[in-house]
C-alpha cells in the first residue's frame, strides 16, 4: 500500500464523502417525515390514507433501492419529468426509507397502551397535548433502536447512488480503481470513510437510546 497514493486520493474521497453525507442526510430527513405521516395515518386509522400508506409501505419495502433509483432516473424522463441525479438520489432514499421509518414509528406507537391515551384525555388534555406529552415521548423511546438502525442502513444504501452517476464514495472508489488499478488504496479509503461516517452515528445512537430509556416502564 502506498502512502503517497493514499494522500493523493484523500481529497477526492473527502469530497465524495461530503456528497454521501449531504444527500444521505437530506434523504433520511425526508424519510423520517414520510414515516411520521404514514404511521400517523395508521395509528389514527384515517380512512383512505391508511390504505394508501399500507400499499406504499409494501411497495417500498419489497423493491430494491437500485430499482427505485432506475425508475426515477430513467423512467420519469419518459413521462416528461426531468430530474437530476441528486434529486433522484434523495427522492429514492426518502421513498425507500419512508416505509422503514413508518414501521419503526408504528411499532413504538403500538407498544404504548391505549389506556395511557385515555388516562391523559381523562385529565382534560386535548388529543394533541396527550400525543405530544404522553404518547410520543414513550413511543419515541421504544422506536429509537429501530430508528438508529434505519439511519445506518439508509446511509449504507447510498452506495448504489453511483448507478445514477452520483459521485459518492462508491463511485469515486470504482472510478479510481478503473483509472489507476490502485485497488488496495482505494478500497481501504472507501472502508475508512464509511466507518468515519457511520461509527459516530452508531455511538451517538447508543447514547441517545440510553438517554431515552425512560426510567424503565411500569405505569
Amino acid at each position: 500500500m502506498s502512502i503517497a497514493v493514499l494522500r493523493d486520493y484523500l481529497p477526492l474521497f473527502a469530497r465524495s464523502a461530503l456528497l454521501t453525507v449531504r444527500l444521505g442526510a437530506l434523504g433520511i430527513l425526508l424519510a423520517v417525515l414520510v414515516g411520521v405521516l404514514c404511521s400517523a395515518a395508521q395509528y389514527f386509522r384515517l380512512p383512505v390514507l391508511q390504505q394508501l400508506s399500507a400499499v406504499y409501505i409494501e411497495l417500498s419495502r419489497n423493491t430494491p433501492l437500485l430499482v427505485q433509483l432506475f425508475f426515477l432516473y430513467y423512467g420519469l424522463p419518459k413521462l416528461g419529468i426531468r430530474t437530476d441525479p441528486a434529486v433522484c438520489g434523495v427522492a429514492g432514499l426518502a421513498f425507500l426509507g419512508g416505509s422503514y421509518m413508518a414501521e419503526a414509528f408504528r411499532s413504538g406507537l403500538e407498544a404504548v397502551d391505549r389506556v395511557q391515551l385515555e388516562s391523559a384525555l381523562s385529565l382534560g388534555l386535548t388529543n394533541a397535548q396527550a400525543m405530544g406529552s404522553v404518547i410520543l415521548p414513550q413511543a419515541l423511546s421504544i422506536s429509537m433502536p429501530a430508528l438508529v438502525a434505519n439511519v445506518i442502513f439508509l446511509l449504507k444504501e447510498t452506495s448504489v447512488f453511483s448507478a445514477v452517476s452520483l459521485m459518492d464514495l462508491m463511485f469515486t472508489a470504482k472510478d479510481l480503481i478503473g483509472l489507476h488499478y490502485n485497488t488496495v488504496e482505494s478500497l481501504t479509503l472507501l472502508v475508512v470513510f464509511y466507518l468515519l461516517i457511520l461509527l459516530p452515528i452508531s455511538i451517538l445512537g447508543s447514547l441517545v437510546e440510553r438517554r431515552l430509556r425512560y426510567a424503565g416502564s411500569g405505569t
Binding site: 391523559a120 404522553v134 411500569g218
Partner: protein
C-alpha cells in the same frame, strides 16, 4: 337535598350485537358518595368510561350540571377536567416523575404556572404520605403508592366529581387498605364520588347509596345498611351470597370426633 351534579339518562352502550348498558338512569348529587357493585361483566366499568366520553354511546345523555358530556362536545377537554378518573391499572406516565405526572395536566390543560401547580401537588402528595417520593419515577413505587399518586393526579385538577374504577383490584391485599383510606378521607371532605368496587366492606363504610348493576340496568338501589343486610331482589341476594362462605363451611373436626354427642 343538594342539587344534582351528574346526570345519566337512558344510557345505551352496545359493543356490536352485545348490549352492555341498557337504558341506564342515574343521578349523583353534590357531596354524595355512590358505590356501584355488581357481577363481573355487568357494565360497571363501561358506565364510568361512558360518563367521561371515553366510549362512544348509542343513545342517551350524560350531563355535568347542565353541560352535556359527549364525544361531540366542543369543550370536551374542559369538561373532562371537572370529572376526575382513576383507573384500575393506575396509568401513571412512566416517562415522568411523580411530580411531573401530577403537574402535567394543570400546566398543559389549565395553563397554571409551574410553581403554583407544584406547590399544590406537593401539598396533596403530603396528604397521602408521598411527598418524599415526588422525584421518583412510577416504576420505583409499589402498587398502592402508584394508585395514591394517580388519585392525587386527579385531585390536583379540582374536579367536581371523581370516578374510581376498581382502584384496588390490581393491588396486593396489604396495599388495598392504604388506598381505601385515601378514599375514605376524600369522602369525609365531602367530595362527590362514583366508586366501582369489589370491596364490599369498604362499600358499606363509604357509601351514601349503593347501586347494584346487573345486565346493563340498575337492579337495586338503597342505602348501604339496607342493601347489604336486607337486599330486596333475588339477584342482589344471590350476588351478595357469593361473598360469604357460611353455606359451604365444614363442621369442626372435634364435633364429629366427640362420641358423647
Amino acid at each position: 337535598m343538594t342539587k344534582p351534579l351528574l346526570t345519566v339518562e337512558g344510557l345505551v352502550k352496545r359493543y356490536g350485537e352485545h348490549t352492555v348498558l341498557n337504558g341506564l338512569d342515574l343521578t349523583v348529587r353534590e357531596g354524595e358518595v355512590v358505590v356501584i357493585v355488581g357481577p363481573s361483566g355487568c357494565g360497571k366499568s363501561t358506565l364510568l368510561r361512558c360518563i367521561n366520553a371515553l366510549e362512544p354511546i348509542q343513545s342517551g345523555a350524560v350531563r355535568l350540571e347542565v353541560a352535556p358530556i359527549s364525544r361531540e362536545s366542543r369543550d370536551l377537554p374542559a369538561l373532562r377536567q371537572k370529572v376526575g378518573m382513576v383507573f384500575q391499572s393506575y396509568e401513571l406516565f412512566p416517562h415522568l416523575t411523580v411530580l411531573d405526572n401530577v403537574t402535567l395536566a394543570p400546566r398543559k390543560a389549565q395553563k397554571r404556572p409551574r410553581a403554583e401547580a407544584e406547590r399544590e401537588a406537593l401539598a396533596l402528595l403530603e396528604r397521602v404520605g408521598l411527598a418524599d417520593r415526588a422525584r421518583d419515577y412510577p416504576r420505583q413505587l409499589s402498587g398502592g403508592q402508584k394508585q395514591r399518586v394517580a388519585i392525587v393526579r386527579a385531585l390536583v385538577m379540582h374536579p367536581q366529581v371523581l370516578l374510581f374504577d376498581e382502584v384496588t383490584a390490581a393491588l396486593d391485599p396489604e396495599m388495598v387498605r392504604e388506598v381505601l383510606d385515601v378514599l375514605l378521607d376524600l369522602a369525609r371532605q365531602g367530595r362527590t364520588m362514583l366508586i366501582v368496587t369489589i370491596e364490599m366492606n369498604f362499600a358499606r363504610a363509604v357509601a351514601d347509596r349503593v347501586i347494584f348493576l346487573d345486565g346493563g340496568t340498575i337492579v337495586e338501589e338503597a342505602p348501604p345498611e339496607e342493601f347489604f343486610d336486607h337486599p330486596k331482589t333475588p339477584r342482589a341476594q344471590k350476588f351478595l351470597n357469593t361473598f360469604t362462605f357460611d353455606a359451604v363451611k365444614r363442621p369442626h373436626p372435634s364435633s364429629l370426633a366427640d362420641p358423647t354427642t
